[in-house]
C-alpha cells in the first residue's frame, strides 16, 4: 500500500506539474508576465532602457502602503495556489480509480492549504481594520466573499476527508469538495480580475483582457474534474451500511453540508453581477439585479450557519467513528451536555449584560458560540487529558465559537463614540449614521461618556498626524481613563490634495477604540479648493489711526500700535532683514474672550512677506496692506546717506543720535557675508543712543576683497536707522560711516479684513468602540492554530487520534 501511495505521490506531482503548465500556458496567451512596459508601449520615453529614472510617479496609493498589505497578498496567493494540491490528489484518485491511497498523503496538504488561505483572509481583514477607514474587519465585499467561499468548501472537504479516511464514507462528497474548492479559486480569480464586479465592490479591479482565458481555465477544470467524477461515480464504493445516527461521521457530514449550504448562499449572492451579465447576453437590455443592503443580507443567513456549525462541531467530537456505544456513555454525555448548556446559558446572560444582543436570534448565536467554546475546551481537558496535539480539531472548533461571540460583540455592538445631533430625525433607523463629528482644535467635545479633544497636528514629510485626546468619564463626570490617538492624513506626492486618511486604534484587552479622520476643511484637503476659497474671500480695507476702533459684524477691532519685533508664529519661522507688526485688540460682541493679535510684514532682501492673522471663532482674517511697507521702510537706493566720522573709540552725534565706537571684530559673521581667502573684513561695534536714552548696538562690516572696498550695512528697525561702514583711514585712525534714516511719514495704516472666513481649525472625526474584538481575532487565530496543529500532526507524527 505504501508503494502505491508513493507511486501515486509521484504521479500526482507529475499531474500537478502539468496542471501548472497548462495554467501558465493559458495565462501566457493573455499576458506574458515577463514583458516589460517598454515592450508594450511604443513611446519615445521607453527608448531609453533606464526610463524609470525619467519618471517621477505619484507613488503607490497610501492606503496600500502598509505592512499588512505587503504580507497579506502573498499569503493569500500561497493559500490560493496550494488548493491545487488536494485538487491534484483528487484528480489522481479519480484517474486511477483508487479512492483510498491518496487520502493519507493528501491530508496534511489540505490542512496546510486551509491554514494558509485562512491566515491570508484574516490578514486581509486585519489590514482592512487597521489601515482602512471604513471601520471594520469584514464587509461582505465580493472580493472578500470570493476568498472565503473556497476556504469554506475546503474546510468541508477536510471534514469529508476525515470521514473517508476513517470510515470509507463520503468519498463522493470529498471529491466534490476538493474539486469545487479549486474551481472556486479560479472563479474567485475570475470575479476579481475580470472587472465584472465593478458596480458592487469597493475594490476597483480593471478589466485586463484575461476574462476569456479565465473562463476557459475554469471550464476546462470543471469539465475535467466533474467529468472524471461522474465517470467514476459508481465505482466510489462505500460501506453498504449507512452511517449511524450516533456516529461522528454522520454529524461531520451534516456539518460539511451546512458549510456547503453557506458556500452556495454566499456564492449565489456574490455572483449576481455575473448572472446579470449572462442574462444580458441572452436578452440584451436585461435590467441587472442587485442586493439592496448586502451586509444585513449576508449576516441574516450566515448567522444560522454559525449556529449549526458551532453546535455540530461541539457534539460531534464526543461521538466516535462508525458507531458510538451509546449505552455506556449515555449518562455521562447527558450530564456533560446539560452542564455545558447550563453554563452557556448563564454566560449568555452575562454576555447580554456586557453587550447588547437586540433579538432572540442573537441570543441563540451567542449561546451556540459559548457552547462550542465550553464543550470543546472540556473535551480537550477531560477526554484528551490536555493533549493539545490530539486536540487540533477541538481547538479549531472552540476558536470558531469564540469567533462567533467576538463577531457578536464587536460587530453588533460597534458603537460610535462620536455622535452628532444633526442627523435627520427618524429618517433612518440606523444609529450609526450620525457617527461623524466636527472637532474644533482645542475645544473638547462631550459625547457618549467621553471628552474628545483635537489637540493639534504635526506635518512630517507628507503625513499630517493628528493628536486626539479621549477622556473617559464616569457617571459623576470624573476622568477615569485617558488616551491619545494619532490618526493621520497623507498628502499626495505633489502635495496638492489629501490622498488618504489612516485610522488609529487603541487596543484594550476587552475592546478597541478606533478613530479615523474622515474629513478636513476643504482648504486643507485640496489645493484647488484652497485657492478657490482664498479667491472668494472679500477683503475690505479699513484705515486705522492708533487707538481707533472699527466695528465689524461680530467684533470690535482696536488698533493698538506698531511693533518692529513681530511675534507672529509664522514670522518667527523665517529669517528677515526687518519686519513690522500691527497689534490689534479684538473684542467679540457675544463673548468674554479678548484677543490680542498681530499681523505682520517681513522683508528679506527684495522679498516681502505678508503674515495674515485669523480668528477662527469669529471667521476673521486680517492682513496688512502691502503698500504699508513703503511707509515704514525706505528702499536702499532712495535713502539719503550722510557721512559721519568717528575717531577710535570716540563718539559723534547725528540728528539727535549719539554714535559711540566701542570696538572692532576682525572675524565678523553675517548671513549675507561669506568669508573668502584674502578678504579683509572688519566689523565696527557702534553703540547708538537716542535723546530718550534708548540704546541700540549695530555691527556694520567693512570688507576689502581684491582691493575693492565693500560694506554690509546694519539696521535699527525701531528707529529706521541704516548704518554703513564706508572707510578706514589708518593714518589718522578715523573711521567713516554712512548713516541714513527711513522716511516714516505715516498717520494712518491700512488693514485688509475679510469676514465670514471658513474655519480651518477643525476635522471631521469618526470614533467607535469595538467591544470584545479580541475574541474575534483570538477565535479566528485559534482556528488557524487548530488547522496548523492538525497539519503538523499529520506530517511529523504519523497521525495521532484520540481514543
Amino acid at each position: 500500500m505504501c508503494t502505491i501511495a508513493a507511486v501515486e505521490a509521484i504521479l500526482v506531482t507529475m499531474i500537478l506539474g502539468i496542471h501548472f503548465e497548462i495554467g501558465e500556458k493559458v495565462i501566457k496567451i493573455g499576458s506574458n508576465p515577463t514583458l516589460l512596459l517598454r515592450h508594450v508601449n511604443d513611446a519615445p520615453i521607453f527608448a531609453n532602457a533606464d526610463y524609470l529614472s525619467l519618471i517621477k510617479g505619484r507613488g503607490l496609493n497610501p492606503l496600500l502602503q502598509n505592512y499588512w498589505m505587503t504580507i497579506h497578498p502573498p499569503t493569500l496567493f500561497l493559500g490560493f495556489a496550494s488548493t491545487v494540491v488536494p485538487f491534484a490528489y483528487a484528480i489522481a484518485g479519480l484517474w486511477y480509480n483508487d479512492h483510498k491511497a491518496w487520502l493519507r498523503p493528501a491530508m496534511g496538504w489540505s490542512l496546510f492549504s486551509a491554514g494558509i488561505l485562512g491566515t491570508g483572509i484574516l490578514m486581509g481583514s486585519f489590514w482592512a481594520y487597521e489601515a482602512l477607514s471604513f471601520g471594520g474587519y469584514w464587509a461582505w465585499d465580493p472580493v472578500e466573499n470570493a476568498s472565503l467561499v473556497p476556504w469554506i468548501t475546503l474546510v468541508a472537504g477536510i471534514h469529508t476527508h476525515l470521514i473517508a479516511q476513517n470510515t470509507g464514507y463520503a468519498k463522493k462528497s470529498l471529491y466534490f469538495f476538493y474539486l469545487i474548492s479549486f474551481i472556486l479559486i479560479l472563479y474567485s480569480t475570475f470575479l476579481t480580475r475580470s472587472g465584472v464586479l465593478g458596480d458592487t465592490s469597493a475594490h476597483a479591479f480593471t478589466e485586463m483582457g484575461l476574462e476569456w482565458q479565465l473562463v476557459f481555465l475554469m471550464a476546462f477544470f470543471t469539465f475535467m474534474g466533474f467529468g472524471l467524477w461522474a465517470y467514476r461515480f459508481r465505482s466510489m464504493d462505500h460501506p453498504e451500511k449507512e452511517e449511524s445516527l450516533y456516529s461522528r461521521e454522520f454529524w461531520m457530514f451534516i456539518g460539511a453540508l451546512v458549510l456547503m449550504f453557506s458556500a452556495v448562499l454566499i456564492t449565489a449572492s456574490t455572483s449576481l453581477p455575473v448572472f446579470n451579465k449572462i442574462m444580458d447576453w441572452f436578452s440584451p437590455g436585461y435590467i441587472g439585479k442587485v442586493i439592496q443592503d448586502p451586509i444585513p443580507h449576508y449576516n441574516k443567513y450566515q448567522m444560522w450557519i454559525g449556529v449549526f456549525v458551532a453546535i455540530l462541531s461541539s457534539k460531534s467530537l464526543f461521538l466516535r467513528y462508525r458507531n458510538t456505544d451509546l449505552q455506556s456513555i449515555q449518562k455521562k454525555l447527558l450530564k456533560k451536555f446539560s452542564i455545558y448548556t447550563l453554563v452557556s446559558l448563564i454566560l449568555t446572560w452575562f454576555c447580554s449584560k456586557w453587550i447588547e444582543l437586540y433579538s432572540w436570534q442573537y441570543y441563540i448565536l451567542c449561546f451556540s458560540g459559548l457552547f462550542a467554546m465550553i464543550a470543546n475546551t472540556d473535551y480537550i481537558i477531560s477526554y484528551l487529558k490536555g493533549s493539545l496535539k490530539a486536540g487540533a480539531s477541538a481547538i479549531a472548533h472552540a476558536g470558531f465559537g469564540m469567533m462567533l461571540v467576538g463577531i457578536l460583540a464587536s460587530g453588533l455592538n460597534k458603537t460610535p463614540i462620536s455622535s452628532n445631533p444633526f442627523v435627520f430625525q427618524g429618517m433612518f433607523t440606523k444609529e450609526d449614521l450620525a457617527r461623524y463629528v466636527q472637532l474644533i482644535r482645542g475645544k473638547p467635545l462631550y459625547s457618549k461618556g467621553y471628552f474628545i479633544t483635537y489637540e493639534g497636528d504635526t506635518l512630517v514629510d507628507r503625513t499630517r498626524t493628528y493628536t486626539i485626546k479621549f477622556q473617559k468619564l464616569n457617571d459623576s463626570m470624573e476622568v477615569i481613563d485617558e488616551m491619545t490617538l494619532h490618526p493621520n492624513a497623507v498628502y499626495s506626492n505633489d502635495f496638492t490634495k489629501v490622498a488618504a486618511f489612516n485610522p488609529d486604534t487603541r487596543h484594550y484587552l476587552d475592546k478597541d477604540i478606533f478613530t479615523c479622520v474622515v474629513g478636513l476643511p476643504p482648504a486643507l484637503q485640496n489645493i484647488e479648493e484652497a485657492k478657490a476659497i482664498e479667491d472668494s474671500l472679500k477683503f475690505n480695507t479699513y484705515t486705522f489711526q492708533k487707538g481707533d476702533t472699527v466695528a465689524l459684524a461680530k467684533a470690535k477691532l482696536i488698533f493698538e500700535g506698531v511693533s518692529y519685533t513681530p511675534r507672529h508664529d509664522e514670522y518667527l519661522k523665517n529669517t528677515h532683514d526687518s519686519g513690522i507688526a500691527f497689534r490689534l485688540k479684538v473684542i467679540p460682541n457675544d463673548a468674554d474672550t479678548i484677543y490680542h493679535i498681530e499681523t505682520a510684514l517681513g522683508i528679506d532682501g527684495a522679498l516681502l512677506y505678508k503674515y495674515p492673522e485669523s480668528i477662527e471663532d469669529l471667521g476673521l482674517r486680517i492682513q496688512p496692506d502691502e503698500n504699508l511697507i513703503r511707509d515704514f521702510f525706505t528702499p536702499d537706493d532712495q535713502l539719503e546717506y550722510e557721512d559721519i566720522t568717528i575717531k577710535n573709540f570716540g563718539s559723534t552725534t547725528w540728528q539727535g543720535y549719539t554714535f559711540k565706537l566701542t570696538g572692532f571684530n576682525k572675524d565678523p559673521e553675517h548671513k549675507n557675508y561669506k568669508n573668502e581667502e584674502n578678504d579683509i573684513a572688519i566689523a565696527a561695534e557702534l553703540s547708538i543712543s537716542d535723546s530718550e536714552g534708548h540704546q541700540f548696538t549695530v555691527k556694520p562690516i567693512y570688507i576689502i576683497r581684491e582691493n575693492i572696498p565693500m560694506s554690509i550695512k546694519d539696521y535699527v528697525a525701531e528707529e529706521g536707522l541704516h548704518i554703513r561702514f564706508s572707510n578706514i583711514d589708518p593714518g589718522t585712525e578715523t573711521f567713516t560711516f554712512k548713516v541714513a534714516k527711513d522716511k516714516r511719514s505715516f498717520d494712518t495704516i491700512k488693514l485688509a479684513i475679510a469676514e465670514d472666513v471658513p474655519r480651518t481649525d477643525y476635522l471631521i472625526l469618526e470614533a467607535s468602540v469595538f467591544p470584545g474584538i479580541n475574541l474575534f481575532w483570538g477565535g479566528s487565530i485559534l482556528m488557524m492554530i487548530g488547522l496548523f496543529l492538525a497539519m503538523w500532526v499529520r506530517w511529523y507524527t504519523g497521525g495521532v487520534r484520540p481514543k
Partner: protein, 147 residues
C-alpha cells in the same frame, strides 16, 4: 488506518430506516434551500431610477454626477450631510442628500450608486459607491501626451 471491512453490517436490519434518514436530510436541505432562496430574493432588486423611487421605498440608484449643479458640503455646520445633484440612467436630475461626509475624489467619479429613499423632492441616501477612472489608464494618457 480506517479500513472498510464492515461486511458484518451489510445486512443490518436498520438499512431501510437509514435510507429514509438520508432522504429526510436531502428533503430538509432542499426545503431550507427553497425557503432561503425565496426570502433572499426579497433582498434583491434592480438598480432603479428616481422615477421608480418616487414611492418612497428603499432603492439603489445608478447615475452620474451632475457637474454643472452645485455641490454643498458644509462640515462646519453639519459634517453628516453632503448634497449634490445626480443624473440617473433615464436622464432625470435630482438632488441627493448623502448622510455622510463628502467622499474623497468625488468630482472624479464616473459613476455613482446611492442607496436610500425619496424624501420630498430629494433622494436621501446613506450608502454611496463610486466608480473612479483607473489611475493607471490615466497615467498612460499622461505619458502619451508628453511626447
Amino acid at each position: 488506518m480506517g479500513g472498510i471491512e464492515n461486511h458484518k453490517y451489510a445486512f443490518d436490519s436498520n438499512i431501510k430506516t437509514m435510507l429514509n434518514k438520508n432522504t429526510i436530510i436531502a428533503l430538509l436541505l432542499i426545503t431550507a434551500g427553497i425557503v432561503v432562496f425565496i426570502t433572499a430574493s426579497r433582498d434583491v432588486s434592480t438598480y432603479s431610477t428616481f422615477a421608480d423611487a418616487a414611492g418612497g421605498e428603499r432603492t439603489k440608484i445608478v447615475g452620474t454626477l451632475a457637474k454643472n449643479k452645485p455641490m454643498t458640503y458644509d462640515p462646519e455646520n453639519d459634517p453628516n450631510t453632503f448634497r449634490f445633484f445626480m443624473t440617473d440612467s433615464k436622464g432625470t436630475e435630482k438632488e441627493v442628500i448623502l448622510q455622510k461626509p463628502k467622499p474623497q475624489d468625488f468630482e472624479l467619479s464616473e459613476q455613482i450608486v446611492v442607496t436610500g429613499k425619496m424624501q420630498n423632492e430629494s433622494f436621501v441616501a446613506d450608502e454611496i459607491l463610486m466608480k473612479c477612472p483607473s489611475k493607471y489608464k490615466d497615467e498612460e494618457i499622461a505619458i502619451k501626451e508628453q511626447q
